[in-house]
């Protein structure tokens, strides 16, 4: 039986499709027995689908550094 902490970690890995087969099984088993983790697991998956739905975009760190430099050039 895995701990809740371990279960949470696997659950997070699952959101990025990085949980192994064995991890998935131990998570399923844990969720059957545990009272609190299923709630976290459900919410975590919901959050993943919200992130997908939102089509999040972000600039890369390099792009941001470039932006900062250009701003500084103008500021001088």
């Amino acid at each position: 039986m895995i701990s809740c902490e371990k279960a949470a970690k696997i659950c997070n890995k699952l959101q990025y499709k990085e949980a192994s087969f064995f991890e998935k099984i131990s998570l399923k088993f844990h969720l059957l027995i545990c009272k609190t983790c299923p709630q976290f697991s459900k919410k975590n998956s919901e959050f993943t689908s919200l992130c997908e739905k939102a089509h999040l975009q972000s600039l890369t760190e390099e792009e941001k550094i470039k932006m900062k430099q250009e701003l500084e050039n103008v500021n001088e």
Partner: protein
Amino acid sequence: MENQQELMHQLKPNTWVDNYADYLFNYAVARVSDSEIAKDLVQETFFAGLKSAKNYKGDAAERTWLIAILKRKVIDHYRKINSNKGKAEVRMSYSSSIDSDGDWLEEQVADPFSKLENSDLENEELGLAIQECISKLPKKQALVFKMKTIQGISTEDICNELGINSSNLWVIIHRARTALMGCLNTNWF
């Protein structure tokens, strides 16, 4: 008098990129749907913000003020690409589908049952809400979460780039996700 001045918002241009670049970028991408153009618009917004910083009265929050500038930039962008007179004409043609029977006008009316428009708007709001929550995270959590979730970089690459091990990474991801879920909780779950 001094107290009053402290209450007013102040511009901190050297924190703009870190604090607002992603938020503005999401706003722009939703409107011009081209990430290169969106990036340029954000940069131009920062330039314009610097230039007119002396006109900032401090009655709006920094981000609101920058969004207002970005809105103008988006409008200017569309003006520019539509500057030829011909392009500005509205063209309408009778829908060519074969099974279109009935009144032309009736067919042009927006479909009230179409969920597409509303859900686009809602998704944009959702995106901005998530970005706002991300900007409240500690810097490292925000960075790791964005690299993993938005840019989809592999665990291994992130670990190499930031010099952390994979357990560290999952702890950071866990904290970030928990905080974000809490932040979104009231409105979106």
